[in-house]
């Protein structure tokens, strides 16, 4: 069993990051090298500065707010939660004074960030069971949400165990040791991770996250990087 854990926690993590980084860069470069569209694609009236409006369109999603406020709410909650979770993971590598402007114990939000992320993913998932979104959805849309949900729920579970149920075998110091060993290319999984009763939770979290990273460059997840250039086209 420990061998399987090790495979997920070490070689698969390296593979996932390689696929994610190289795949994303390759796809973005490949797309950027294509010829530009010969004409403007903007919608009028033009507002200046166009780039600022494009940034606003990308990060505030005003058109969704206007036409589908409930969806906007859950999307906003979801994306902000994911951002906070990413910050939380960065803090697993070390102390970042900038993130500690709001003093907190890693992760931010006392476990509730993961909870609202999971709930909003469920909303995004179940809304696809209703027309008209049902008619638009393809399996990809469900697969990615399921993958995200599994990643979030197993990841958050570890936070919840520590925060809400006083579980203290696996803690931030163990994660730091593990993650830094990966960064330094001297992979090592501390015993409290490999042999803890909750280890399978971590392993499942990492496993689903690995899968997610590996499909990322080849799916609609690329909207993460393409949303801004597309909005720039529309704003002119």
């Amino acid at each position: 069993m420990q061998t399987a854990y090790y495979l997920v926690l070490v070689p698969m993590v390296y593979a996932a990051f390689a696929v994610f980084v190289l795949g994303t860069v390759w796809r973005l470069v490949q797309t950027a090298r294509r010829p530009a569209h010969p004409t403007t694609l903007q919608i009028f009236p033009k507002k200046e500065p166009a780039w600022l409006y494009a940034v606003g369109d990308t990060f505030l999603m005003p058109s969704i707010f206007r036409h589908s406020p409930v969806l906007w709410f859950f999307l906003a909650v979801f994306h902000v939660a994911v951002l906070l979770l990413i910050i939380g993971h960065l803090e697993l590598f070390g102390d970042w004074p900038i993130f500690q402007l709001v003093p907190h114990e890693v992760f931010l939000g006392r476990g509730f960030v993961g909870l609202v992320a999971a709930v909003s993913v469920l909303y995004l998932f179940f809304r696809r069971f209703h027309a008209p979104v049902r008619d638009l959805s393809v399996p990809e849309d469900y697969y990615l949400l399921i993958l995200l949900f599994l990643t979030i729920i197993f990841g958050s579970q570890m936070d919840w165990a520590r925060r809400w149920y006083d579980y203290d075998v696996m803690g931030v110091s163990a994660y730091r040791a593990y993650l830094w060993s990966l960064v330094m290319l001297k992979p090592f999984v501390p015993d409290e991770i490999l042999y803890s009763g909750h280890a399978f939770m971590l392993v499942l979290h990492v496993f689903f996250a690995n899968l997610f990273l590996m499909v990322f460059p080849f799916t609609k997840m690329m909207h993460t990087f393409l949303a801004l250039p597309m909005n720039l086209l529309r704003r002119g």
Partner: protein, 420 residues
């Protein structure tokens, strides 16, 4: 469909894959925000009329033939092989879309459905499955550019007949002046009209009243190549006018009330020594500069509303000028939509009006929401600045018994001219 045909069509597909197109093909998250954007869906709520659904019909073929995903795991994104059945789906998607780009305003990423439909239209042209009449009309236009001498005499005679009407109606002085000048080298402005007196007579009256040094193009503005989605034909039709403008050394090319012609000329003609304007912009300029005067008497007691032609307004940027003109024509102007980006398409764009009776039933049903939008304004006069829109709105007027007076903005300006 045999293998060779499929390969040829996929080569055509490949030519469309520029950076923007790949963005549009890769990014849709199928969030469904565009659902209510389309006037067709609003009038007939069926999933196939949702912008994202139309786009997905093209996208499925892209996934199958241009992405590893579609080869390794086709069911993941419902990738679909290009077949005869797929062509039929492409036809239904592309020719129920008017290319108005209202959905682009809704989409959080700004996906351009008209661009995605241009892939469908090009594949249909490649498979000889497009509406033939559009290709025929495009070829006629191209032929006219090639053998102008053959058409010239008839055209000049036709113009002579129109001149008399301009003089009669507007009592413009005609002594020693040509009322409708043609082929004038060194003219300031080349006016590109449509084949039809209604597109030439009022415009001529206004140009002459403004003392413009203008000349009428031999060619009609409309670009059937753009309707049928054939880039080669679009370019050939456009080039006739560009070459004429260069030959006559004009400083400005003024496109008549035709949305497609205006957008193609404005955005596709590249950097040229002349500027491109719509006749609406030119008329607004004349009013602003005091070169023409109009009176509000012609439309006294009328309630006027204005339909923004999609290719001129949302997609072309001519928004203020028609409103400025209408301020001079009426005291009772009412907007259709609080934000002109949200104005509904008339339902006749993308070649649907050019297909005439064949699409009439669909056009009437799919534009129900437009008829309602017009009706809500309480207007008695419905002005617009596009031939297609005018035809479609007149059809809607009849079909839904709206009792409106559908007018071209140029005609309204001409009718209200104060000739001193």
């Amino acid at each position: 469909m045999d293998q060779q045909m499929r390969e040829d069509l996929l080569k055509l597909f490949q030519t469309k894959l520029n950076r923007a197109m790949v963005y549009y093909l890769e990014t849709c998250t199928r969030c469904g925000v565009c659902t209510t954007a389309c006037h067709v869906y609003q009038s007939m709520p069926q999933a196939r009329y949702i912008a994202a659904y139309r786009a997905e019909i093209v996208r499925r073929i892209y996934k199958k033939h241009f992405k590893g995903q579609g080869k390794l795991w086709p069911s993941y994104g419902e990738a679909k092989e290009l077949t005869e059945a797929a062509l039929q789906e492409l036809y239904d998607a592309a020719y129920s879309c008017t290319g108005c780009r209202r959905c682009m305003v809704y989409c959080p990423f700004g996906i351009d459905t008209q661009m995605l439909m241009s892939i469908a239209k090009l594949l249909l042209v490649g498979a000889h499955a497009e509406p033939e009449i559009l290709t025929l009309l495009a070829d006629t236009s191209i032929e006219k550019g090639r053998s102008l001498e053959f058409f010239k005499e008839g055209f000049l005679q036709g113009v002579k007949n129109l001149e008399q009407k301009v003089v009669e109606k507007w009592k413009l002085e005609a002594e020693g002046k040509t009322v409708i000048p043609v082929d004038v080298e060194g003219a300031e402005l080349l006016y590109v009209a449509l084949a039809g007196a209604h597109s030439i007579i009022p415009a001529a009256a206004v140009f002459n009243a403004a003392g413009e040094n203008w000349t009428l193009s031999f060619f009609e503005a409309v670009n059937f190549g753009a309707f049928v989605g054939d880039p080669t034909r679009t370019k050939l039709i456009l080039d006739r006018i560009v070459n004429e403008a260069l030959r006559l050394k004009v400083k400005e090319v003024c496109i008549c009330e035709c949305g497609t012609a205006y957008r193609v000329m404005k955005q596709l003609s590249g950097t040229q020594p002349f500027k491109v304007s719509s006749v609406t912009e030119v008329h607004a300029r004349y009013l602003r500069e005091g070169r023409i005067r109009v009176s509000k008497k012609a439309f006294e007691g009328q309630v006027v509303t204005y339909h923004d032609p999609c290719q001129i307004a949302r997609n072309g940027g001519v928004l203020e000028e028609p409103r400025f003109i209408l301020q001079h024509l009426t005291d009772d102007f009412r907007e259709m939509a609080p934000d002109p980006r949200y104005n509904y398409c008339c339902g006749g764009g993308g070649g649907l009006v050019a297909l005439g009776e064949d699409t009439l039933d669909f056009r009437m049903k799919s534009a129900k929401v437009k008829a309602e939008q017009v009706q809500k304004t309480g207007a008695t006069v419905l002005a617009t600045a596009c031939e297609n829109c005018h035809t479609q709105l007149s059809d809607l007027n009849r079909h839904y018994g709206l009792g409106l007076n559908v007018q071209f903005l140029t005609s309204m300006v001409a009718d209200a001219l104060v000739v001193s």
